[in-house]
């Protein structure tokens, strides 16, 4: 991956993870270690698998799991931090404040269910959409968005 936007179709979880790795490498190559990745995709689309691949490059060695219950997981590795958020249960800006969302700085943030926080998206972010196709096939789109 040398530039965005991209659209790729993956046929397995491993391939979805690999796209995560590619985006991770793209971020590192471009010094974007404070990027915000807004993730969109249904249950079981492969968002966590994607973050697993992303972390493999950004925070190598970190054990990635779903933040459904914790709301935020912090991963450390390679001298960097990645915050993996699940916004599904966030209803308002006060909710975001009280999970410490606004305290995260100088780290990559990968946030699932960003449909819930349109009011809190930063001025610049990467929009990542994972769409379920037939069977295990997924269409993954990544694009840079300026939200000014």
């Amino acid at each position: 991956m040398t530039s965005l936007p991209i659209t790729v179709v993956t046929a397995s979880v491993i391939e979805t993870e690999n796209v995560g790795r590619e985006l991770g490498q793209y971020l590192l190559n471009n010094g974007m270690t404070d990027a915000f990745i807004a993730m969109y995709g249904d249950l079981g689309a492969g968002k966590t698998a994607f973050v697993r691949g992303l972390c493999d490059v950004i925070t190598p060695g970190a054990h990635v799991c779903s933040p459904t219950y914790t709301i935020v997981n912090e991963y450390y590795g390679g001298g960097r931090t990645l915050c993996h958020c699940d916004m599904y249960r966030i209803e308002s800006d006060d909710d975001l404040y009280s999970i410490g969302f606004y305290d995260y700085e100088n780290c990559v943030i990968a946030a699932e269910w960003c449909e819930k926080i349109p009011f809190a998206l930063p001025e610049k972010y990467i929009k990542l959409t994972i769409k379920k196709l037939d069977g295990d096939n997924r269409e993954i789109t990544a694009e840079e968005v300026e939200n000014i």
């Binding site: 209803e91 308002s92 800006d93 006060d94 909710d95 404040y97 009280s98 999970i99 410490g100 606004y102 305290d103 700085e105 100088n106 009011f119 809190a120």
Partner: protein, 234 residues
């Protein structure tokens, strides 16, 4: 009266020990590390360098908000723990008021501004006059543009500081009353927290209320858990 005071409401971790109004030691760290890593070692090193034991401290104090959710919780929890452990009084002071005390030697309008994100500032306005600080507004969240407009209604010098200093300075561009701010006065410092705490403590008629149980964080907005408990779930 020996006071151990700290502020962790923004990125700066600030700790000071004072004997009344006399500063014994102060640490200010603004190096991007988290308060959970910095604060206790900073306290420990300052106590050791000052040759004091925790039992020598008569009053534990912190800025109790508004500010960063995590930072406010770390500061308040630390002071609650120390006060509980050593069975000593503790006091929380407003983070904006503590910032205003940075300018106690300047006469004019004091406008601390902390970045509340999403174009909002935590702010209050104070008057500094002849060595005393008077609050003119309550602590609040306010858009930078609105605050800049409000500042045009004041005469005389206006001093601004806090983590949102650059935001309000930009928003208030053209207001000739807004003075430049020295780097050391821009950020939180433990001495200002201690001074503010000392004055509030001495002015209080009933000093029995300054307990670890009574010390509460000030968020200016209820947390999700509080709203759910109060049956206000949106």
């Amino acid at each position: 009266m020996m006071i151990l005071a700290l502020d962790s409401t923004e990125n700066t971790a600030a700790v000071a020990i004072t004997d009344g109004k006399t500063l014994l030691g102060s640490t200010v760290i603004n190096a991007g590390k988290s308060h959970s890593e910095l604060l206790l070692p900073a306290i420990e090193s300052l106590m050791k360098a000052s040759g004091l034991n925790y039992s020598d401290i008569d009053l534990f104090a912190c800025s109790s908000g508004p500010g960063s959710f995590t930072g406010v919780r770390i500061g308040v929890s630390t002071i609650k723990g120390l006060a509980f452990g050593y069975n000593k009084p503790c006091i929380g002071v407003s983070a904006t008021e503590a910032l205003a005390y940075n300018f106690i030697d300047f006469d004019g309008i004091i406008c601390p501004a902390m970045d509340a994100r999403r174009s909002q500032l935590y702010n209050a306005i104070f008057l500094s006059d002849n060595g005393s600080i008077t609050r003119l507004t309550p602590d609040r969240t306010i858009p930078a543009s609105e605050l800049a407009e409000e500042l045009t209604s004041y005469d005389g010098p206006i001093y601004i500081n806090g983590g949102g200093e650059h935001i309000i300075r930009k928003a208030a561009e053209g207001n000739e009353n807004v003075m430049p701010t020295n780097e050391i006065l821009k950020r939180q410092n433990g001495y200002s927290v201690a001074l503010c705490a000392l004055i509030n403590y001495e002015n209080a008629e009933n000093k029995d209320g300054f307990t670890d149980l009574a010390l509460q964080p000030i968020y200016l907005r209820p947390s999700q858990a509080e709203r759910m408990r109060n049956g206000e779930k949106e």
